[in-house]
Symmetry: C2
């Protein structure tokens, strides 16, 4: 736990961390695995798991005695309508552009703490470059994040600057003024790149997606090696990504209401 905020309930946070660990793991997890991932004792994790099982958020496989997501978790997901549309609306266009570029495509939505990865379509090169679903990319060190700073609510930028800009690589933007001017540029161009700002050798190209209320719904991005995604990609790629985003926005209803 890095930036230990002190106005949250500690054990509640670990319970949610356990829930996330189970949700975003591809296979069922055991007590020990979760314990060492979260750096907590087995006993503590066990009791948190009991709480989650008790409420039906996770279930224990009677055969292997490992833990997986429970019924209530999926039920709750169905009751949060807006983002489902985003994932569904983006599915097709994302596959399309992956097929045309062979580059991994990533869909994210804004959160208070970063760009949450909702869905990915892995490129079909030999070397696969992906982003873990459910992970959060920092606002200042990812193309998706900077898009959200540019087109999302101003509070995001304030919060980001207030929390500081920790460097992930030597190329990460750490100067507040530079971040602000870069975000202004992104707002003009409608597209962001983040060459080697999150991970050396990797670049990302992101554009915003808007909903029917003309508000930022998320961002779609291409993510790949700097071999295929140089710091200044050619205009054809820009156009392609912009067109994908506007297809998704239109599916969400963007432009169907009289905007101001």
């Amino acid at each position: 736990m890095d930036a230990q905020r002190k106005d949250i309930v500690r054990s509640a946070d670990t319970t949610l961390a356990v829930l996330e660990a189970i949700a975003f793991a591809e296979e069922a997890l055991g007590v020990t695995q979760i314990a060492q991932r979260l750096s907590l004792s087995k006993g503590a994790i066990f009791r948190h798991l009991q709480s989650l099982v008790d409420r039906g958020f996770v279930a224990q496989d009677p055969q292997t005695s490992r833990y997986r997501l429970g019924v209530k978790a999926s039920l709750i997901g169905r009751l949060a309508p807006p983002e489902n549309d985003l994932i569904a609306a983006a599915e097709g266009p994302m596959r399309d552009i992956r097929d045309r570029t062979a580059i991994t495509t990533v869909l994210s939505a804004p959160t208070t703490s970063g760009a949450l990865v909702l869905n990915t379509v892995i490129g079909y090169r030999t070397i696969e470059i992906g982003v873990r679903k459910g992970s959060e990319l920092p606002f200042h060190a990812s193309a998706q994040g900077k898009v959200m700073l540019a087109f999302g609510p101003p509070a995001l930028m304030e919060r980001t600057l207030r929390l500081g800009l920790p460097p992930l690589t030597p190329h990460t933007i750490t100067d507040p003024d530079r971040l602000v001017s870069e975000v202004n540029l992104i707002r003009e161009n409608g597209v962001a790149t983040a060459p080697e700002e999150a991970l050396l050798g990797i670049n990302t190209l992101a554009v915003p997606v808007f909903d029917r209320d003309s508000r930022l719904a998320g961002a779609v991005a291409l993510c790949g090696s700097i071999q295929y995604l140089p710091a200044n990609p050619d205009d054809g790629l820009f156009a392609m990504v912009r067109e994908m985003a506007s297809r998704i926005s239109r599916t969400l209803g963007y432009g169907t209401r009289a905007g101001n």
Copy 2:
């Protein structure tokens, strides 16, 4: 809270309770509302909400400063595959039978502590009788629950008997022996009723749904006043409900594998 188990993490449980409250409420909730629903202080609820917001499970509406489900909640729901199929597979047949009988139809899935209500299709009489999504019906005092005891894993029955059979109405089965024999009867007939066992004046008629592994996936039920659902409904209704359940089971893949 009623049956305070002592092997769970208390504050984790309240966090999950807050999450559920928000998820199963039809509109966004405020701190005060949640606090009085859960009988906790505003300050405590506020901090739990901070934890949930911090992890992206809930989000605060910037306009009204009320809380609703966040992005991560819906994302997690998408990652729990099995039950989604159940809800989707049952949707059509449930509507059909509601249209033919005008009686409320309810879909539930087994949990360690009861029959979780996944979806409902409200009947179109003047007096509406529904069941709240996300609520859990006790195993011993609902038709759905008894179906699960009959066709689900034996551990359910053990646990239910161990925890005791609290009466909800004068008609609730409270004698363990009677529950066992009734469940055996249900296992033979493939259908359960629970006249006035959960609520006076209300009866329920439930049948099991099975998945491709021939294991219990859930139960569908008709739920209505004893005027339309007498203690011994006519055979036509039984046949109709059985047929609905087998349609759902077939959609789930039941019967496509060589059973034993």
